[in-house]
């Protein structure tokens, strides 16, 4: 049994005409295949680029929303001490003195120094905080507790480990200690929420000592050093008096 359409085409295109028709059909197919082979990777690349641009613009929008507090040139230049990794030993912090026009307002001043800390030193290997982390909000409570709310990048991009996480916290606490006397202790939030740990190790449920005397406040009589956890981390989830089993 033959196909009536092919039969009719065969009748319409006898001998050399049929050959010509086959040639053009083959040429068309080759053209389509070659065209697809060339254009598909190009389309894919363009889609990737568009996605990347979208991501970048989202990040840009986020950064614009949380615009770092601009340095006001009319503010007096202050020798600020910022704590990054030591050049000679990457397992400890070292102060670096930088002249910055810092506000006298403790909240603005804290934002300025923490944003400078986030921007990092010239030598990127001495960073303590990931470059894509953003300080979303910062305020100081009347009792001297400084609340710093960071984007999730702080938790996601920080190198995992006890040492790197503790150095990150210490760099913030010691930088605040050196530049903002009003900040007594530091509470770190991630995207507005209390996190159990920074990246699986260091405890973020309490507050960290910024000025030594903060750790000796009547409610929290623990002795400690800057960066030490000073407050009993009795959070909402742990507000009941849980007891160790033994």
């Amino acid at each position: 049994m033959t196909d009536p359409i092919i039969d009719s085409l065969t009748e319409l295109a006898p001998g050399p005409a049929r050959e010509k028709w086959k040639f053009w059909l083959t040429a068309l197919l080759v053209f389509v295949v070659v065209g697809a082979a060339i254009s598909v990777p190009l389309i894919r690349r363009r889609m990737k680029r568009a996605a990347r641009l979208q991501e970048q613009s989202a990040e840009q929008a986020r950064r614009e929303l949380t615009q770092p507090v601009p340095m006001n040139p009319s503010d007096p230049l202050v020798k600020a001490k910022l704590f990054w990794l030591s050049d000679s030993d990457h397992s400890v912090l070292a102060p670096l003195t930088v002249e910055l026009p810092l506000s006298s307002d403790p909240v603005l001043r804290s934002k300025q120094v923490l944003n400078t800390l986030l921007a990092g030193p010239v030598d990127v290997e001495l960073r303590t905080l990931p470059p894509d982390a953003v300080l979303l909000a910062f305020y100081i409570l009347p009792d001297g507790t400084a609340i710093a709310d960071f984007s999730e990048a702080l938790a996601i991009s920080i190198p995992s480990g006890i040492a790197s996480e503790q150095l990150a916290v210490d760099s913030m606490a010691r930088t605040l200690e050196a530049n903002v006397p009003q900040a007594k202790r530091l509470k770190i939030l991630i995207h507005g929420q209390e996190a159990e740990t920074l990246a699986g190790h260091v405890d973020l449920t309490g507050t960290f000592a910024v000025h030594i005397d903060a750790s000796q406040a009547p409610a929290n009589p623990a002795a400690g050093k800057v960066g030490a956890l000073v407050e009993p981390p009795l959070t909402a989830g742990h507000s009941t008096f849980k007891l160790a089993r033994r």
Binding site: H90, G224, K225, L229
Partner: protein, 280 residues
């Protein structure tokens, strides 16, 4: 299964089934609370402390007076709780060639376990497979043991490769409850002094073997240690960022031997005089 009975009978059957299933659920939960992990092995001759927590309460007592403390000390250190960190959906640090901290710490734990077995310690692990118990679950396993120390094992993604650091928890507010019970959230507080001694001893052994490691234990606010009611340390090996995974594998026997020798050296110092307030 549906029973073809009248309305009142059906309600009665459903009520009986409901009550029965509640009892069953209760029994299962009680059993689960008594055995926080299948990997846990209760030390012989000790009553399960979880029995005090029957009824789903998360509270039980900690021996605090000198009498019970001395009783503990007479038993001497006999159990080591090993905690391979991370696991499950949390791979921990990730290094070159797909190296994952959660996998490597399991291998290190196996080596440490072997070394401690040889020294006559009973070893309890918080996990043995690729699962991720919560911090509190891991602490619960440790806190259910008597005469135990707790060691959590980590591999960092930073630090000088081939070095090992020991950490103890940073200072915590002293425990001042009138009832002599230790708050779960600060369970480590009374043990910080002992933890420091254990940490320094283990660090000393590690430093002899792995040059470039610190001379003494460091302090850090480590979530896992805070809720552990026993001398507790974290051991962190550097690092997952190595050219060849074999470099890390070669470290395992040395780390295991140093930890075991550190725990042996700590054994005579293991005296819990009092768990109330400050460091013993």
């Amino acid at each position: 299964m549906l029973l073809d009975v009248g309305n009142s009978h059906r309600q009665r059957v459903l009520a009986i089934c409901g009550v029965a299933s509640l009892f069953l659920a209760g029994a299962v939960m009680t059993h689960a609370s008594q055995t926080p992990s299948q990997t846990q092995q209760a030390p012989p001759g000790t009553a399960s402390p979880a029995s005090a927590a029957a009824g789903g309460q998360s509270a039980t007592t900690v021996p605090s007076g000198s009498a019970s403390g001395i009783q503990n000390a007479q038993g001497g250190l006999s159990v080591v709780v090993l905690d391979p960190a991370h696991g499950g959906t949390d791979p921990g640090a990730r290094g070159t060639g797909g190296i994952q901290e959660s996998e490597i710490v399991l291998e290190f734990t196996a080596e440490v376990r072997k070394a401690l077995d040889q020294q006559g310690f009973q070893v309890v692990q918080t996990r043995q497979a690729n699962d991720n118990p919560s911090f509190d679950d891991r602490s619960a396993i440790a806190n259910a043991q008597r005469n135990a120390v707790f060691i959590t094992l980590h591999i960092a993604s930073t630090g000088l490769p081939g070095t090992v650091r020991v950490y103890v928890n940073s200072e915590l507010p002293a425990v001042t409850t009138a009832t002599a019970l230790i708050p779960w959230d600060r369970a480590q507080a009374p043990f910080l002094g002992l933890s420091r001694k254990l940490g320094d001893l283990v660090q000393g052994m590690l430093t002899q073997r792995f040059k470039g490691s610190p001379d003494s234990a460091q302090t850090a606010a480590i979530r896992q240690l805070r809720t552990t009611a026993a001398p507790a340390i974290a051991v962190e090996v550097s690092s997952v960022v190595v050219n060849d995974r074999a470099d890390l594998d070669h470290m395992a026997p040395g780390v295991a031997d140093a930890i075991a020798r550190g725990v042996v050296a700590f054994k005579p110092l293991y005296v819990i005089a009092s768990t109330r307030g400050g460091s013993p």
